[in-house]
C-alpha cells in the first residue's frame, strides 16, 4: 500500500511541478529556519548546564531600594559575606567569593607576555563549579596565597613545552588593583564550550584580601561576587525569605536585602526588574522559537491551500478509489503519506541548506554553532519533518475525502462557502504574521538607531579608550601628559570602570537636612581624572569641574543633577556630605549623562577626583585626523610598553556593544521577516496562478460580453489584495500593543507613530500586489477565442 502511495506521489510531482516546487521551496526554507533556530535555542538553553551542582548552586544578589520607588539589583557583595555564609547560615554547604579583575591582566613568563582575563576565587571554587581540572587537585589548587590556576590554552600559549606546566612560575600584573607578584601554577582547567563564563586564570582570594586596605572591608563596600551551594532539600523560597535581612542584621545602616538566585538560570534570565528575575535572553529564545514556528506554519498553510485549491485535480482519483472500495481512512492515510513524504524530502533539502549556511548563521548570531551528526538529533529532525507533514496534510486530507463518491464522480465539487472562508482565513493569517514581523523588525531597527544617536549627555565621538595596564600602571599621568602634546589630541583623562559599565556604587551618605527616605540612596560612584568632564564633553549645571585640581584631594565631590534633585538640596554648592570616611564638599553639579544601557534610568551619581583604581584612559582626538593621531599614540604607547600591542577601542563602538544582543536579534528577525513574506507570497502566487487558470473561461465570456482587460485584471487581483488588506487591519492593533510592550523596557524609547504600522502593511500589500499582478494580467489579457476553444 505504502509503495503505491509513494509511486502515486512521485507521479503527481512530475505532473504538477510548479505546485511541488512552491511547496518544496516553502517547506524547505522554513524548515531550514526552524533547524537554525533550534540549534541556536539549544545552544542558549544548555549554557551553564554542565555544572554538576547546578540544582543547588546559587548566586547571591543584593536588592537595594533606589530611592525612586523600586529596587536595584547588584551581584556584588562585601567580602564579609563569605565567612558569614560559611559559618552562620546552616543551609549553606559551601560558599565561594570571586573578585573579578577589571580588564586585562598581564601574564608573564621569562620570554612571553600575554594579556588575559581572570579573577580571584576562594578555595572551594573548583568544587562548586564543574570546570574540569586537567591537572591539580580541586580541593587544594587555590589554597596557597600565591597559587594560580590557568586555562589549557594559556598553558599552551605561554609554555610551548610538552605536558602541563604545573609548579612553574608566572608573573601576573594588573594596573587597577595594584597587583604585581609571582605566582605558582597549581592546576590547569578547561572551559567547556557551553559555559557562559570565559576566563584565563584564577588566583587565590587570599591574595585579594591581602592586597586590600582593611578599612575597605565593611558591609558597605561591595566588590565580590558570592556563590553558595545549598544543602539538598532546602526550599529556596522559604530560604530566601529567611535570609533576606542578613545584611541589615549585620549593618543596621545598610538597606540591602539578600536574594539567592539559581546560578544556572542566570544566563537566560539575566535581567532584573524591581528585584525579580524577569526576562533577558529567555525572551529572545521564546520569541525566536515562536517566529520560527510561525514561519513553518505559513509554509504548511501554502501546502494546505494549494492542495485544497487544486482539489478538482485529485477529486476524480478519490471518487474512483471510493467506488472500488477505498475507505475514507485509507484515503486520509494516502494524503498524509504524501504530505509527510514531501516534508521529509524538504527536510533533506533543509538539512543540506543548514550545513551550507551554518557558518554565516554562526557569524550573525555570534555563536560557534555546530551541526553534530547524532542519533538523537536525527530523531528530532525526523520528528519535526513528520509533524510538519501531518500538520500540512491534515486539512487537505479531511477536506478531500469528505465528499461523497457519487458527487465527486459527477465531476462537481460541492463548493461550500465554508471551504473558501477557511482558505481565505489561512491567507489572512499568513499575511498577518508577515506584517507583524515587518513591523517588529522596523521598530527594533528604529529603536536601536534612536539609542545609537541619542544625546547621552556626553560626546562619545572620537574618544579612544585604552586599558590601563603594564607600563601605564605607574606612568599613567606621564603618558597622558605626553599624549596631550600630540597635535591631534584634544584632551585626555582617566576613569574607574568605563563609560558603558559603571557599576561601582556607594551608599549610606549623610548630609544636612537629609530625609529619612533618602538615607537609602545608592550612588553610582567613580574615580575620575581632573580633565574627565572636559574630555567627555559633559556639561556643568553649576559650580566648577575638577580641572586644575590635584587628584586624591579627598575633600571635594561633584554630583549629577539627579543626585542633587533626589537629595533635596536647594543650594548644593558648598554642602558637605559625610561619605563614611572623608567629608566632602560639593564643588559642582553636572548635567545628567547616560551610563550603562538605555534600559535603565539615570541614577544618582558621584564623581570623585582620584587616581586609584583607574582602569580606563580616555583620549579625545580631533575628527579627521584619526589616522595620524592614532599612529602617534601607538608610538607613545610603545615607549611605555615595549613589545606590547597598542590595544584600544573607540567609545562609540564600545557603546554599540551594549546593544549587541538586540542587534543580533534585529538582524536575525530581518531575515525571518523576509522569509515569512517570501513564503506567504509564494503561496499567494500558487493560488493566483491556479484561480487565473480556473477563471480563464469566465474571463473569456465576460470579455466577449464587453469587459475590458483592466476590469478583468481588477476582478482577478482584487480578491487577493482584499485579503492582504484584511490582514493589515487585523494585525496593526496587535503589532501596536506588542511594539509598545517591547519598548516599555527601555527608559528611553521612540514614540510610536501610525505610519510605522501603515508602512509595514503597505510593504506587504505592494509585495503581494506584484505577486498577484503578473498572473492576473496574463489571464485578463488572454484572447477569449483561445480560452473558449479549449472547452
Amino acid at each position: 500500500m505504502l509503495k503505491n502511495h509513494i509511486r502515486l506521489f512521485l507521479r503527481n510531482i512530475s505532473r504538477d511541478k510548479s505546485t511541488f516546487f512552491i511547496n518544496l521551496v516553502g517547506l524547505s526554507s522554513s524548515l531550514t529556519c526552524v533547524l537554525l533556530v533550534f540549534l541556536w535555542v539549544k545552544d542558549e538553553v544548555v549554557k551553564d548546564q554542565f555544572h554538576a551542582n547546578k540544582e543547588q548552586l546559587y548566586q547571591v544578589f543584593r536588592h537595594v531600594p533606589n530611592g525612586q520607588g523600586s529596587l536595584n539589583t547588584y551581584q556584588s557583595n562585601s567580602s564579609l559575606m563569605l565567612t558569614t555564609l560559611q559559618q552562620e547560615v546552616p543551609e549553606v554547604e559551601q560558599a565561594v567569593a570571586v573578585f573579578r579583575i577589571n580588564g586585562n591582566a598581564m601574564l608573564q613568563t621569562e620570554d612571553k607576555k600575554l594579556a588575559s582575563t581572570g579573577f580571584f576565587a576562594s578555595e572551594d571554587y573548583f568544587k562548586l563549579f564543574s570546570f574540569p581540572l586537567l591537572a591539580g587537585d580541586m580541593n587544594t589548587v587555590l589554597r596557597d596565597v600565591n597559587s594560580v590556576v590557568i586555562s589549557k590554552e594559556m598553558a599552551e600559549n605561554l609554555f610551548e613545552s610538552e605536558g602541563f606546566p604545573v609548579g612553574k612560575s608566572l608573573i601576573i600584573k594588573n594596573g587597577e588593583d595594584g597587583l604585581e607578584d609571582v605566582f605558582t601554577i597549581n592546576g590547569i582547567f578547561e572551559i567547556p564550550k557551553n559555559s557562559s563564563q570565559d576566563f584565563d586564570f584564577v588566583l587565590s582570594y587570599k591574595k585579594f584580601l591581602q592586597n586590600r586596605d582593611i578599612n575597605d572591608i565593611h558591609w558597605g563596600s561591595n566588590s565580590s561576587s558570592m556563590y553558595a551551594l545549598l544543602k539538598t532539600g532546602v526550599g529556596i523560597e522559604s530560604f530566601n525569605s529567611k535570609i533576606e535581612d542578613l545584611i541589615k542584621k549585620k549593618d543596621s545602616e545598610n538597606q540591602a536585602s539578600v536574594f539567592f538566585g539559581l546560578y544556572a538560570d542566570n544566563y537566560l534570565k539575566n535581567r532584573f526588574v524591581n528585584g525579580k528575575k524577569s526576562g533577558g535572553r529567555i525572551t529572545y529564545v521564546i520569541l525566536l522559537s515562536i517566529v520560527a514556528l510561525f514561519i513553518l506554519i505559513i509554509a504548511c498553510i501554502n501546502f494546505m491551500n494549494l492542495s485544497t485549491a487544486k482539489a478538482t485535480k485529485r477529486i476524480k482519483e478519490i471518487g474512483v478509489k471510493k467506488v472500488v472500495g477505498a475507505e475514507k481512512s485509507s484515503l486520509i492515510f494516502q494524503f498524509l503519506t504524501e504530505s509527510v513524504l514531501l516534508a521529509c524530502f524538504s527536510m533533506i533539502v533543509a538539512y543540506a541548506m543548514v550545513a551550507l549556511i551554518l557558518p554565516w548563521f554562526s557569524n550573525i548570531t555570534g555563536k560557534q554553532l555546530e551541526f553534530p551528526f547524532s542519533i538523537s538529533l536525527i530523531l528530532v529532525i525526523a520528528g519535526i519533518a513528520v509533524v510538519t507533514g501531518l500538520i500540512s496534510g491534515s486539512y487537505p486530507a479531511f477536506y478531500l475525502t469528505k465528499f461523497k463518491a457519487i458527487s465527486v464522480l459527477k465531476g462537481k465539487l460541492p463548493t461550500s462557502s465554508g471551504d473558501h472562508v477557511i482558505r481565505k482565513g489561512l491567507v489572512i493569517f499568513q499575511f498577518s504574521i508577515s506584517i507583524l514581523l515587518i513591523v517588529a523588525v522596523s521598530i527594533i531597527y528604529m529603536q536601536l538607531d534612536f539609542i545609537q544617536s541619542k544625546n547621552l549627555g556626553y560626546n562619545k565621538d572620537n574618544i579612544i579608550t585604552i586599558e590601563r595596564q603594564d607600563g601605564l600602571v605607574n606612568n599613567m599621568e606621564t603618558f597622558l601628559e605626553e599624549a596631550r602634546m600630540i597635535p591631534g589630541v584634544v584632551n585626555a583623562s582617566y576613569m574607574q570602570g568605563d563609560m558603558t559599565n559603571f557599576s561601582n556604587s556607594s551608599s549610606n551618605h549623610r548630609w544636612p537636612g537629609q530625609s529619612e527616605e533618602s538615607k537609602k540612596f545608592t550612588f553610582r560612584h567613580a574615580h575620575v581624572g581632573p580633565d574627565f568632564i572636559e574630555t567627555m564633553g559633559i556639561e556643568m549645571k553649576e559650580g566648577r569641574s575638577y580641572i586644575n585640581e590635584v587628584p586624591n584631594n579627598n575633600s571635594k565631590i561633584i554630583l549629577n543633577e539627579t543626585a542633587v534633585e533626589l537629595m533635596g538640596l536647594e543650594n548644593p554648592i558648598g554642602t558637605v556630605i559625610d561619605m563614611r570616611g572623608p567629608n566632602r564638599e560639593i564643588i559642582g553639579v553636572v548635567k545628567d549623562f547616560n551610563i550603562q544601557s538605555l534600559y535603565d534610568e539615570i541614577t544618582p551619581m558621584a564623581l570623585v577626583c582620584r587616581s586609584e583604581w583607574i582602569s580606563t584612559l580616555l583620549v579625545k582626538i580631533k575628527a579627521g585626523e584619526e589616522k595620524k593621531t592614532i599612529a602617534a599614540l601607538t608610538q607613545l604607547f610603545e615607549k611605555f610598553n615595549p613589545g606590547l600591542p597598542f590595544d584600544f577601542d573607540f567609545l562609540d563602538a564600545q557603546y554599540e556593544q551594549l546593544y549587541l544582543s538586540e542587534q543580533r536579534v534585529a538582524s536575525l528577525s530581518k531575515y525571518l521577516a523576509g522569509l515569512a513574506i517570501l513564503i506567504s507570497c509564494l503561496g499567494l502566487f500558487g493560488l493566483v496562478t491556479f484561480t487565473a487558470q480556473l477563471r480563464k473561461k469566465e474571463v473569456s465570456i465576460r470579455k466577449v460580453l464587453g469587459q475590458t482587460t483592466s476590469q478583468a485584471f481588477m476582478m482577478l487581483s482584487s480578491e487577493f489584495v482584499k485579503l492582504v488588506m484584511a490582514a493589515m487591519v487585523i494585525t496593526l492593533p496587535i503589532a501596536y500593543l506588542m511594539a509598545n510592550d517591547w519598548l516599555s523596557d527601555f527608559a528611553y524609547r521612540i514614540p510610536l507613530r501610525i505610519w510605522y504600522f501603515l508602512g509595514a502593511g503597505c510593504t506587504a500589500l505592494i509585495i503581494a500586489m506584484f505577486t498577484v499582478a503578473g498572473q492576473s494580467l496574463m489571464a485578463a489579457k488572454s484572447s477569449p477565442a483561445n480560452a473558449l476553444r479549449q472547452e
Binding site: 500500500m1 503505491n4 509511486r7 502515486l8 507521479r11 503527481n12 505532473r15 476524480k316 482519483e317 471518487g319 474512483v320 478509489k321 467506488v323 472500488v324 472500495g325 477505498a326 475507505e327 485509507s330 461523497k404 463518491a405 457519487i406 464522480l409
Partner: protein, 220 residues
C-alpha cells in the same frame, strides 16, 4: 434472490419544494439476471443505479440485498457489503490517469485483504482473460476508448463481484466497440455474474433478459 427494492422514494428540496428523483420504485433481481434500465435523459436512471450500488442514499422505502436490510445498515457495514459484492462500470471509464493498466486493475485489491502475490496472480489472470497483457504497462491515455472500457470492466470484475452495475458502458464508444463490450457482458452473464446496465440503445437492451423503463423517476 439477489436484491429487492420496495417503495423507494428519493427527493431533493429546492426552493421549499420537494422534487422527486425516484418515485415508488419496486422490483426484484435474482442472481444471474441481465437487466437493462431505459428511459429518456433526466428520467432518473443513473440515480436508480447509484441507489442500487449504495453510492447514494434514498429517503423512503426498503432495500434488501442478500438478506441484509440496506436501509438500516450502518455506513461501515454497507460499504463492506458493497465492496464485496458489487462492481461498477462507467460511461467515461474513470480510470486513474496516473496509473498504468496493471496498477488500475490492482487498485481495488489494495483496499481488500489480499497479499501481494495474490494480487499479482489476480491481475495477471484478468490481463490474460481480457487479452490485454501487452498493454499492462501503458497509461489510460495511450489506449483507445474501447480498450479503456475493457480495463474498466476488468477492474470491476477483479474482486469477483456478484453484481455488475454499468451506467451507459458503451456511451462513449463507436458501434463496433460497443458490440464487443456487450458480447463480453453476455459472456460474463453466462458465467453467472448478475448485470444491471443503463442504456439508451434498444440493441444493447436486447442483450439483457429484462428491461425496466423509467419516466420522471417512476417505473412504467
Amino acid at each position: 434472490m439477489l436484491l429487492q427494492l420496495k417503495n423507494i422514494f428519493k427527493w431533493v428540496n429546492s426552493g421549499g419544494q420537494r422534487i422527486f428523483l425516484l418515485k415508488d420504485i419496486n422490483f426484484e433481481v435474482s442472481e444471474g439476471e441481465f437487466i437493462s434500465i431505459m428511459g429518456p435523459s433526466g428520467s432518473g436512471k443513473s440515480t436508480l443505479l447509484n441507489v442500487i450500488g449504495m453510492l447514494d442514499g434514498f429517503d423512503e422505502g426498503e432495500y434488501h440485498f442478500l438478506d441484509e436490510s440496506v436501509h438500516s445498515l450502518k455506513e461501515k457495514h454497507r460499504s463492506n457489503l458493497y465492496k464485496e459484492y458489487i462492481g461498477f462500470v462507467f460511461q467515461s471509464y474513470h480510470l486513474l490517469d496516473d496509473l498504468t493498466v496493471k496498477e488500475n486493475l490492482e487498485m481495488p485489491l489494495l483496499y481488500k485483504k489480499y497479499s501481494s502475490s495474490e494480487r499479482k496472480a489476480k491481475v495477471a489472470d484478468m490481463l490474460d482473460r481480457f487479452n490485454i497483457v501487452g498493454k499492462k504497462d501503458l497509461f489510460p491515455a495511450q489506449l483507445s476508448g474501447g480498450q479503456q472500457q475493457l480495463v474498466g470492466i476488468a477492474r470491476a470484475l477483479i474482486s469477483n463481484p456478484k453484481l455488475i452495475l454499468a451506467d451507459e458502458p458503451t456511451g462513449n464508444l463507436n458501434s463496433k466497440q460497443g458490440e464487443e463490450i456487450m458480447e463480453l457482458f453476455k459472456k460474463l452473464n453466462d458465467e453467472g455474474v448478475t448485470i444491471i446496465q443503463v442504456t439508451h440503445s434498444e440493441k444493447n437492451a436486447a442483450y439483457g433478459s429484462r428491461v425496466i423503463n423509467l419516466l420522471d423517476g417512476r417505473m412504467i
